[in-house]
Protein backbone atom coordinates (compact mmCIF):
# COMPACT_ATOMS: atom_id res chain seq x y z
CA UNK A 1 0.00 0.00 0.00
CA UNK A 2 2.83 2.36 0.93
CA UNK A 3 6.43 2.03 -0.18
CA UNK A 4 9.01 4.45 1.15
CA UNK A 5 12.61 4.44 -0.01
CA UNK A 6 15.50 6.45 1.38
CA UNK A 7 13.29 9.17 2.81
CA UNK A 8 15.24 12.12 4.19
CA UNK A 9 13.93 15.22 5.94
CA UNK A 10 15.97 17.98 7.47
CA UNK A 11 14.78 20.95 9.46
CA UNK A 12 17.75 23.27 9.48
CA UNK A 13 20.73 21.14 10.36
CA UNK A 14 18.66 18.59 12.22
CA UNK A 15 17.98 15.34 10.38
CA UNK A 16 14.46 14.38 11.43
CA UNK A 17 14.31 11.47 8.99
CA UNK A 18 17.60 10.00 7.91
CA UNK A 19 17.06 7.52 5.11
CA UNK A 20 13.84 5.74 6.04
CA UNK A 21 12.85 2.60 4.09
CA UNK A 22 9.43 1.27 4.86
CA UNK A 23 6.68 -0.99 3.53
CA UNK A 24 3.09 -0.82 4.68
CA UNK A 25 1.19 -3.88 3.58
CA UNK A 26 -2.39 -3.77 2.40
CA UNK A 27 -5.10 -4.90 4.78
CA UNK A 28 -2.87 -4.73 7.83
CA UNK A 29 -2.40 -2.40 10.76
CA UNK A 30 1.10 -0.98 10.85
CA UNK A 31 2.13 0.76 14.04
CA UNK A 32 4.89 3.33 14.03
CA UNK A 33 6.52 3.49 17.43
CA UNK A 34 9.45 5.33 18.88
CA UNK A 35 10.33 7.89 21.51
CA UNK A 36 9.15 11.50 21.31
CA UNK A 37 10.93 13.33 18.53
CA UNK A 38 11.78 10.15 16.64
CA UNK A 39 10.09 11.50 13.51
CA UNK A 40 6.76 9.63 13.65
CA UNK A 41 4.53 12.61 12.98
CA UNK A 42 6.90 13.97 10.34
CA UNK A 43 6.74 10.63 8.53
CA UNK A 44 2.94 10.67 8.61
CA UNK A 45 2.80 14.25 7.38
CA UNK A 46 5.05 13.39 4.47
CA UNK A 47 2.80 10.51 3.43
CA UNK A 48 -0.06 13.02 3.44
CA UNK A 49 1.92 15.59 1.48
CA UNK A 50 1.84 18.14 4.31
CA UNK A 51 5.64 18.21 4.33
CA UNK A 52 7.92 17.63 1.36
CA UNK A 53 10.73 15.08 1.29
CA UNK A 54 14.30 16.35 1.28
CA UNK A 55 15.22 13.18 -0.54
CA UNK A 56 13.87 9.73 -1.27
CA UNK A 57 10.58 8.54 -2.61
CA UNK A 58 7.09 7.75 -1.34
CA UNK A 59 4.67 5.57 -3.30
CA UNK A 60 1.07 5.29 -2.12
CA UNK A 61 -1.09 2.67 -3.80
CA UNK A 62 1.13 2.61 -6.88
CA UNK A 63 1.25 6.40 -7.22
CA UNK A 64 4.56 8.20 -6.70
CA UNK A 65 4.00 11.34 -4.65
CA UNK A 66 5.05 14.32 -6.74
CA UNK A 67 2.73 17.09 -5.67
CA UNK A 68 -0.49 15.57 -7.02
CA UNK A 69 -3.45 15.61 -4.66
CA UNK A 70 -5.90 13.02 -5.95
CA UNK A 71 -4.41 10.12 -4.02
CA UNK A 72 -5.56 11.78 -0.82
CA UNK A 73 -9.17 11.02 -1.77
CA UNK A 74 -8.41 7.44 -0.71
CA UNK A 75 -6.89 8.41 2.64
CA UNK A 76 -8.62 9.17 5.93
CA UNK A 77 -6.53 11.15 8.40
CA UNK A 78 -7.00 11.61 12.11
CA UNK A 79 -4.55 14.28 13.31
CA UNK A 80 -3.00 14.23 16.74
CA UNK A 81 -4.46 17.53 17.91
CA UNK A 82 -8.18 18.01 17.50
CA UNK A 83 -8.45 21.78 17.19
CA UNK A 84 -11.00 23.17 14.78
CA UNK A 85 -12.52 26.57 13.94
CA UNK A 86 -14.19 27.40 17.20
CA UNK A 87 -17.39 28.92 15.92
CA UNK A 88 -18.28 26.07 13.57
CA UNK A 89 -20.26 23.08 14.76
CA UNK A 90 -19.13 19.49 14.34
CA UNK A 91 -21.90 18.97 11.81
CA UNK A 92 -20.66 21.89 9.72
CA UNK A 93 -17.12 20.55 9.82
CA UNK A 94 -18.29 17.17 8.53
CA UNK A 95 -20.36 18.93 5.87
CA UNK A 96 -17.30 20.92 4.78
CA UNK A 97 -15.25 17.76 4.31
CA UNK A 98 -18.09 16.15 2.41
CA UNK A 99 -18.35 19.22 0.18
CA UNK A 100 -14.61 19.31 -0.42
CA UNK A 101 -14.38 15.66 -1.31
CA UNK A 102 -17.49 15.83 -3.43
CA UNK A 103 -17.93 12.23 -2.41
CA UNK A 104 -20.81 10.26 -3.75
CA UNK A 105 -22.55 7.41 -2.05
CA UNK A 106 -23.37 7.11 1.60
CA UNK A 107 -20.75 8.09 4.14
CA UNK A 108 -19.78 5.95 7.10
CA UNK A 109 -21.55 7.44 10.11
CA UNK A 110 -21.36 4.37 12.29
CA UNK A 111 -19.04 6.07 14.76
CA UNK A 112 -21.48 8.96 15.25
CA UNK A 113 -24.03 6.45 16.50
CA UNK A 114 -21.57 4.40 18.52
CA UNK A 115 -20.18 7.52 20.21
CA UNK A 116 -23.74 8.89 20.61
CA UNK A 117 -22.32 12.05 19.09
CA UNK A 118 -25.38 13.32 17.21
CA UNK A 119 -26.62 15.72 19.93
CA UNK A 120 -23.15 17.32 20.11
CA UNK A 121 -22.89 17.99 16.40
CA UNK A 122 -25.06 21.11 16.50
CA UNK A 123 -22.95 22.86 19.13
CA UNK A 124 -20.00 25.14 18.38
CA UNK A 125 -16.79 23.13 18.54
CA UNK A 126 -15.31 25.53 21.08
CA UNK A 127 -17.89 24.41 23.66
CA UNK A 128 -17.05 20.71 23.28
CA UNK A 129 -14.67 18.91 25.61
CA UNK A 130 -11.33 17.69 24.30
CA UNK A 131 -12.56 14.11 24.30
CA UNK A 132 -15.67 14.97 22.33
CA UNK A 133 -13.61 16.85 19.75
CA UNK A 134 -11.38 13.82 19.47
CA UNK A 135 -14.51 11.76 18.69
CA UNK A 136 -15.41 14.19 15.91
CA UNK A 137 -11.83 13.79 14.72
CA UNK A 138 -12.22 10.01 14.59
CA UNK A 139 -15.53 10.26 12.73
CA UNK A 140 -13.83 12.41 10.05
CA UNK A 141 -11.16 9.79 9.37
CA UNK A 142 -13.65 6.99 8.69
CA UNK A 143 -16.33 9.10 7.02
CA UNK A 144 -15.43 8.46 3.39
CA UNK A 145 -14.64 4.75 3.66
CA UNK A 146 -11.00 5.31 2.64
CA UNK A 147 -8.68 2.46 1.64
CA UNK A 148 -5.94 3.82 3.86
CA UNK A 149 -6.40 5.32 7.31
CA UNK A 150 -3.67 7.28 9.03
CA UNK A 151 -4.32 7.75 12.72
CA UNK A 152 -1.95 9.84 14.85
CA UNK A 153 -2.45 8.89 18.51
CA UNK A 154 -6.07 7.97 17.91
CA UNK A 155 -7.16 7.16 21.45
CA UNK A 156 -5.42 10.05 23.20
CA UNK A 157 -8.01 11.87 25.31
CA UNK A 158 -10.75 9.32 24.82
CA UNK A 159 -12.46 7.69 27.78
CA UNK A 160 -12.25 3.87 28.04
CA UNK A 161 -15.67 3.35 26.47
CA UNK A 162 -14.97 5.56 23.49
CA UNK A 163 -11.50 4.14 23.16
CA UNK A 164 -12.91 0.60 22.96
CA UNK A 165 -15.47 1.69 20.40
CA UNK A 166 -12.72 3.14 18.25
CA UNK A 167 -10.52 0.06 18.57
CA UNK A 168 -13.43 -2.21 17.62
CA UNK A 169 -14.02 -0.03 14.61
CA UNK A 170 -10.38 -0.25 13.55
CA UNK A 171 -10.40 -4.03 13.82
CA UNK A 172 -13.69 -4.31 11.94
CA UNK A 173 -12.45 -2.11 9.11
CA UNK A 174 -9.20 -4.03 8.92
CA UNK A 175 -11.23 -7.19 8.54
CA UNK A 176 -13.01 -5.43 5.67
CA UNK A 177 -9.63 -5.05 3.96
CA UNK A 178 -8.64 -1.50 4.89
CA UNK A 179 -5.06 -0.55 5.66
CA UNK A 180 -4.04 1.36 8.77
CA UNK A 181 -0.99 3.32 9.79
CA UNK A 182 -1.11 4.44 13.39
CA UNK A 183 1.07 5.81 16.12
CA UNK A 184 0.54 5.49 19.82
CA UNK A 185 2.44 5.55 23.04
CA UNK A 186 0.11 3.05 24.64
CA UNK A 187 1.82 -0.25 24.01
CA UNK A 188 -1.01 -2.46 25.21
CA UNK A 189 -3.21 -0.80 22.66
CA UNK A 190 -0.76 -1.43 19.85
CA UNK A 191 -0.46 -5.00 20.97
CA UNK A 192 -4.20 -5.30 20.53
CA UNK A 193 -4.31 -3.65 17.13
CA UNK A 194 -1.01 -3.90 15.31
CA UNK A 195 0.01 -6.57 12.83
CA UNK A 196 3.32 -4.96 11.93
CA UNK A 197 5.57 -2.71 13.94
CA UNK A 198 8.00 -0.09 12.70
CA UNK A 199 10.39 1.16 15.33
CA UNK A 200 11.75 4.59 14.58
CA UNK A 201 14.67 6.11 16.46
CA UNK A 202 16.59 9.26 15.62
CA UNK A 203 15.11 9.33 12.15
CA UNK A 204 16.07 5.78 11.24
CA UNK A 205 14.09 2.55 11.11
CA UNK A 206 15.59 0.23 13.73
CA UNK A 207 13.08 -2.56 13.32
CA UNK A 208 10.31 -3.33 10.86
CA UNK A 209 8.28 -6.50 10.73
CA UNK A 210 5.45 -8.46 12.27
CA UNK A 211 4.75 -7.92 15.93
CA UNK A 212 5.64 -11.53 16.73
CA UNK A 213 9.11 -11.17 15.20
CA UNK A 214 9.86 -8.17 17.37
CA UNK A 215 9.04 -10.10 20.51
CA UNK A 216 11.10 -13.05 19.32
CA UNK A 217 14.14 -10.96 18.39
CA UNK A 218 14.16 -9.22 21.72
CA UNK A 219 13.08 -12.35 23.62
CA UNK A 220 10.39 -10.41 25.43
CA UNK A 221 6.80 -11.39 26.04
CA UNK A 222 5.13 -8.06 25.48
CA UNK A 223 5.59 -5.11 23.21
CA UNK A 224 6.36 -2.58 25.90
CA UNK A 225 9.31 -4.62 27.17
CA UNK A 226 10.42 -5.41 23.64
CA UNK A 227 10.51 -1.73 22.71
CA UNK A 228 12.15 -0.74 25.97
CA UNK A 229 14.76 -3.40 25.33
CA UNK A 230 15.48 -1.99 21.87
CA UNK A 231 15.72 1.56 23.16
CA UNK A 232 18.21 0.61 25.85
CA UNK A 233 20.22 -1.46 23.38
CA UNK A 234 20.45 1.50 21.07
CA UNK A 235 21.53 3.74 23.88
CA UNK A 236 24.29 1.32 24.90
Amino acid sequence: MIEIDGLVKRYGTQRVLDGVDLRVRRGRVTAIVGPNGAGKTTLIKMILGLARPGGGRIVVDGEVLDGGVDYRARIGYMPQIARFPENLSGGELLALLQDLRGSEGPVDEELIDRFALAPQLDKPLRTLSGGTRQKVNAVMAFLFRPDLLILDEPTAGLDPVASSVLKDKILAERAAGRTFVLTSHIMSELEELADDVVFLLDGKVRFAGPLGDLKRTTRQVNLERAIAQMMTQEAA
Binding site: F84, N87, P124
Partner: protein, 267 residues
Protein backbone atom coordinates in the same frame (compact mmCIF):
# COMPACT_ATOMS: atom_id res chain seq x y z
CA UNK B 1 -10.79 26.50 -13.48
CA UNK B 2 -14.24 25.40 -12.39
CA UNK B 3 -12.57 22.92 -10.05
CA UNK B 4 -10.45 25.69 -8.57
CA UNK B 5 -13.52 27.85 -8.09
CA UNK B 6 -15.35 24.94 -6.47
CA UNK B 7 -12.86 24.12 -3.74
CA UNK B 8 -12.14 27.78 -3.05
CA UNK B 9 -15.81 28.68 -2.79
CA UNK B 10 -16.47 25.80 -0.40
CA UNK B 11 -13.62 26.77 1.91
CA UNK B 12 -14.73 30.41 1.79
CA UNK B 13 -18.27 29.45 2.70
CA UNK B 14 -17.35 27.59 5.87
CA UNK B 15 -14.55 29.86 6.99
CA UNK B 16 -16.87 32.80 6.49
CA UNK B 17 -19.48 31.31 8.76
CA UNK B 18 -16.77 30.78 11.36
CA UNK B 19 -15.34 34.30 11.17
CA UNK B 20 -18.74 36.00 11.05
CA UNK B 21 -19.64 34.45 14.40
CA UNK B 22 -16.46 35.68 16.01
CA UNK B 23 -16.99 38.24 18.75
CA UNK B 24 -14.03 40.22 17.46
CA UNK B 25 -15.59 40.74 14.08
CA UNK B 26 -18.92 41.75 15.59
CA UNK B 27 -17.12 44.22 17.85
CA UNK B 28 -15.17 45.60 14.91
CA UNK B 29 -18.31 46.26 12.86
CA UNK B 30 -20.09 47.71 15.90
CA UNK B 31 -17.22 50.06 16.57
CA UNK B 32 -17.43 51.56 13.09
CA UNK B 33 -21.18 51.74 13.37
CA UNK B 34 -21.05 53.64 16.64
CA UNK B 35 -18.18 55.90 15.58
CA UNK B 36 -19.95 56.85 12.35
CA UNK B 37 -23.25 57.38 14.11
CA UNK B 38 -21.65 59.58 16.75
CA UNK B 39 -19.70 61.65 14.21
CA UNK B 40 -22.81 62.13 12.11
CA UNK B 41 -24.88 63.25 15.09
CA UNK B 42 -22.38 65.42 16.89
CA UNK B 43 -19.65 66.09 14.34
CA UNK B 44 -21.42 68.82 12.41
CA UNK B 45 -22.25 67.62 8.92
CA UNK B 46 -21.47 64.66 6.71
CA UNK B 47 -18.25 65.92 5.12
CA UNK B 48 -16.65 66.63 8.47
CA UNK B 49 -17.77 63.24 9.73
CA UNK B 50 -16.23 61.56 6.70
CA UNK B 51 -12.97 63.40 7.17
CA UNK B 52 -12.74 62.31 10.80
CA UNK B 53 -13.72 58.78 9.85
CA UNK B 54 -10.93 58.73 7.31
CA UNK B 55 -8.34 59.05 10.04
CA UNK B 56 -10.01 56.31 12.06
CA UNK B 57 -10.10 54.04 9.01
CA UNK B 58 -6.46 54.66 8.07
CA UNK B 59 -5.33 53.82 11.58
CA UNK B 60 -7.67 51.03 12.60
CA UNK B 61 -8.31 48.98 9.47
CA UNK B 62 -4.63 48.05 8.96
CA UNK B 63 -4.19 47.28 12.66
CA UNK B 64 -7.22 45.03 12.99
CA UNK B 65 -6.67 43.32 9.63
CA UNK B 66 -3.05 42.50 10.42
CA UNK B 67 -3.51 41.46 14.05
CA UNK B 68 -6.85 39.67 13.76
CA UNK B 69 -5.65 38.00 10.57
CA UNK B 70 -2.43 36.73 12.11
CA UNK B 71 -4.21 35.54 15.25
CA UNK B 72 -6.89 33.75 13.27
CA UNK B 73 -4.34 31.96 11.12
CA UNK B 74 -2.35 30.75 14.10
CA UNK B 75 -5.53 29.43 15.67
CA UNK B 76 -6.48 27.76 12.40
CA UNK B 77 -3.15 25.96 12.11
CA UNK B 78 -4.52 22.47 12.80
CA UNK B 79 -7.59 23.19 10.70
CA UNK B 80 -5.34 24.15 7.80
CA UNK B 81 -3.47 20.87 8.19
CA UNK B 82 -6.72 18.96 8.18
CA UNK B 83 -7.79 20.66 4.96
CA UNK B 84 -4.39 20.03 3.39
CA UNK B 85 -4.84 16.32 4.10
CA UNK B 86 -7.90 16.34 1.85
CA UNK B 87 -7.62 15.95 -1.91
CA UNK B 88 -7.32 19.69 -2.56
CA UNK B 89 -4.58 21.75 -4.15
CA UNK B 90 -2.71 24.23 -2.04
CA UNK B 91 -3.37 27.23 -4.27
CA UNK B 92 -7.10 26.56 -4.13
CA UNK B 93 -6.99 26.21 -0.41
CA UNK B 94 -4.96 29.39 -0.03
CA UNK B 95 -7.44 31.36 -2.12
CA UNK B 96 -10.27 30.01 0.00
CA UNK B 97 -8.59 30.77 3.31
CA UNK B 98 -7.62 34.26 2.17
CA UNK B 99 -11.04 35.24 0.91
CA UNK B 100 -12.75 33.61 3.88
CA UNK B 101 -10.85 35.98 6.13
CA UNK B 102 -10.66 39.15 4.02
CA UNK B 103 -14.31 39.16 2.92
CA UNK B 104 -15.97 39.18 6.36
CA UNK B 105 -13.48 41.76 7.69
CA UNK B 106 -14.11 44.03 4.71
CA UNK B 107 -17.87 43.48 4.92
CA UNK B 108 -17.99 44.20 8.67
CA UNK B 109 -16.09 47.43 8.18
CA UNK B 110 -18.12 48.52 5.15
CA UNK B 111 -21.46 47.76 6.78
CA UNK B 112 -20.47 49.57 9.99
CA UNK B 113 -19.55 52.73 8.12
CA UNK B 114 -22.23 52.74 5.48
CA UNK B 115 -25.28 51.86 7.59
CA UNK B 116 -25.59 55.20 9.48
CA UNK B 117 -25.26 57.15 6.24
CA UNK B 118 -27.92 55.02 4.63
CA UNK B 119 -30.23 55.59 7.59
CA UNK B 120 -29.65 59.33 8.03
CA UNK B 121 -29.00 60.26 4.43
CA UNK B 122 -26.47 62.94 3.49
CA UNK B 123 -26.71 66.72 3.41
CA UNK B 124 -24.83 67.00 0.13
CA UNK B 125 -25.05 64.39 -2.67
CA UNK B 126 -21.29 64.63 -3.26
CA UNK B 127 -20.84 62.92 0.05
CA UNK B 128 -22.01 59.63 -1.47
CA UNK B 129 -18.91 59.66 -3.62
CA UNK B 130 -16.70 60.40 -0.64
CA UNK B 131 -18.35 57.60 1.31
CA UNK B 132 -17.82 55.19 -1.57
CA UNK B 133 -14.16 56.21 -1.81
CA UNK B 134 -13.71 55.73 1.93
CA UNK B 135 -15.32 52.28 1.88
CA UNK B 136 -13.35 51.14 -1.18
CA UNK B 137 -10.07 52.36 0.26
CA UNK B 138 -10.80 50.65 3.56
CA UNK B 139 -11.60 47.42 1.75
CA UNK B 140 -8.33 47.68 -0.21
CA UNK B 141 -6.38 48.23 3.02
CA UNK B 142 -8.14 45.21 4.53
CA UNK B 143 -7.00 43.10 1.58
CA UNK B 144 -3.42 44.39 1.85
CA UNK B 145 -3.04 43.76 5.56
CA UNK B 146 -4.85 40.41 5.64
CA UNK B 147 -2.40 39.29 2.95
CA UNK B 148 0.48 40.52 5.09
CA UNK B 149 -0.98 38.55 8.01
CA UNK B 150 -0.82 35.45 5.80
CA UNK B 151 2.79 36.07 4.88
CA UNK B 152 3.69 36.53 8.54
CA UNK B 153 1.72 33.58 9.88
CA UNK B 154 2.97 31.21 7.20
CA UNK B 155 6.59 32.22 7.52
CA UNK B 156 6.89 32.39 11.28
CA UNK B 157 6.25 29.28 13.35
CA UNK B 158 6.27 31.21 16.61
CA UNK B 159 2.98 32.96 17.25
CA UNK B 160 4.35 35.53 19.68
CA UNK B 161 6.90 36.66 17.15
CA UNK B 162 4.24 36.54 14.46
CA UNK B 163 1.91 38.81 16.42
CA UNK B 164 4.84 41.11 17.13
CA UNK B 165 5.61 41.25 13.43
CA UNK B 166 1.97 42.07 12.64
CA UNK B 167 1.96 44.97 15.08
CA UNK B 168 5.38 46.01 13.77
CA UNK B 169 4.17 46.11 10.18
CA UNK B 170 1.23 48.25 11.23
CA UNK B 171 3.45 50.61 13.25
CA UNK B 172 5.84 50.96 10.36
CA UNK B 173 3.30 51.77 7.68
CA UNK B 174 0.85 53.78 9.79
CA UNK B 175 3.11 55.79 12.06
CA UNK B 176 6.85 55.47 11.57
CA UNK B 177 6.96 55.76 7.82
CA UNK B 178 5.92 59.40 7.55
CA UNK B 179 8.32 60.29 10.32
CA UNK B 180 11.21 58.60 8.56
CA UNK B 181 10.34 60.31 5.30
CA UNK B 182 10.19 63.68 7.02
CA UNK B 183 13.53 63.08 8.68
CA UNK B 184 15.09 62.15 5.34
CA UNK B 185 13.67 65.32 3.82
CA UNK B 186 15.14 67.46 6.57
CA UNK B 187 18.54 65.83 6.28
CA UNK B 188 18.63 66.05 2.50
CA UNK B 189 16.98 69.44 2.14
CA UNK B 190 19.62 70.63 -0.33
CA UNK B 191 18.77 68.02 -2.97
CA UNK B 192 15.84 67.74 -5.39
CA UNK B 193 13.67 65.21 -3.66
CA UNK B 194 10.39 65.13 -5.51
CA UNK B 195 10.92 61.94 -7.45
CA UNK B 196 12.39 59.87 -4.63
CA UNK B 197 9.59 61.12 -2.42
CA UNK B 198 6.98 59.98 -4.90
CA UNK B 199 8.57 56.59 -5.00
CA UNK B 200 8.58 56.48 -1.20
CA UNK B 201 4.91 57.29 -1.09
CA UNK B 202 4.00 54.62 -3.58
CA UNK B 203 5.87 52.20 -1.34
CA UNK B 204 3.45 52.64 1.55
CA UNK B 205 -0.16 51.46 1.14
CA UNK B 206 -1.44 53.58 4.03
CA UNK B 207 0.12 56.73 2.58
CA UNK B 208 -1.36 55.86 -0.78
CA UNK B 209 -4.79 55.41 0.71
CA UNK B 210 -4.51 58.71 2.55
CA UNK B 211 -3.52 60.64 -0.57
CA UNK B 212 -6.20 58.95 -2.59
CA UNK B 213 -8.85 60.00 -0.10
CA UNK B 214 -7.59 63.50 0.50
CA UNK B 215 -7.56 64.22 -3.20
CA UNK B 216 -11.26 63.38 -3.15
CA UNK B 217 -11.82 65.70 -0.22
CA UNK B 218 -9.86 68.47 -1.85
CA UNK B 219 -7.96 69.35 1.31
CA UNK B 220 -4.32 68.99 0.40
CA UNK B 221 -3.27 70.96 3.48
CA UNK B 222 -3.87 67.77 5.46
CA UNK B 223 -1.89 65.56 3.15
CA UNK B 224 1.44 65.76 4.83
CA UNK B 225 4.65 66.18 2.94
CA UNK B 226 4.40 63.21 0.58
CA UNK B 227 0.82 63.99 -0.32
CA UNK B 228 1.56 67.61 -1.17
CA UNK B 229 4.36 66.56 -3.50
CA UNK B 230 2.18 63.94 -5.05
CA UNK B 231 -0.65 66.31 -5.83
CA UNK B 232 1.70 68.83 -7.41
CA UNK B 233 3.20 66.14 -9.54
CA UNK B 234 0.11 64.38 -10.75
CA UNK B 235 -2.83 66.62 -9.91
CA UNK B 236 -6.47 65.55 -10.33
CA UNK B 237 -7.64 62.46 -12.13
CA UNK B 238 -4.29 61.15 -13.35
CA UNK B 239 -2.92 61.17 -9.82
CA UNK B 240 -5.94 59.29 -8.54
CA UNK B 241 -5.53 56.66 -11.23
CA UNK B 242 -1.84 56.20 -10.43
CA UNK B 243 -2.50 55.96 -6.70
CA UNK B 244 -5.37 53.51 -7.24
CA UNK B 245 -3.21 51.35 -9.51
CA UNK B 246 -0.41 51.39 -6.96
CA UNK B 247 -2.84 50.38 -4.23
CA UNK B 248 -4.06 47.50 -6.39
CA UNK B 249 -0.45 46.40 -6.83
CA UNK B 250 -0.15 46.58 -3.06
CA UNK B 251 -3.02 44.13 -2.71
CA UNK B 252 -1.55 41.77 -5.29
CA UNK B 253 2.05 41.70 -4.06
CA UNK B 254 1.51 40.28 -0.54
CA UNK B 255 -1.22 37.94 -1.82
CA UNK B 256 1.26 36.41 -4.27
CA UNK B 257 4.00 36.37 -1.65
CA UNK B 258 1.66 34.58 0.74
CA UNK B 259 0.68 32.06 -1.92
CA UNK B 260 4.29 31.20 -2.61
CA UNK B 261 5.04 30.82 1.08
CA UNK B 262 1.94 28.66 1.53
CA UNK B 263 2.83 26.43 -1.41
CA UNK B 264 6.37 25.75 -0.29
CA UNK B 265 5.78 25.43 3.40
CA UNK B 266 6.05 22.22 5.43
CA UNK B 267 3.16 21.87 7.82
Amino acid sequence: MSVLGGVTAKVVKYELSDVVRSRWLVGYALFFLLATEALLRFGGGGTKALLSLMNVVLLLVPLVSAVFGTMYLYNAREFTELLLAQPVRRDQLYAGLYLGLALPLAAGFAAGIAAPFLVHGVDDPRQWRLLAALVLTGVALTCVFVAMAFVIAIRSEDRVRGLGAAVGVWLLFSLLYDGIVLLAVLLLADYPLERPLLALMLANPVDLARVLLLMQFDVSALMGYTGAVFERFFGGAGGIAVAAAALAAWVAAPVVLGLRAFRDRDF
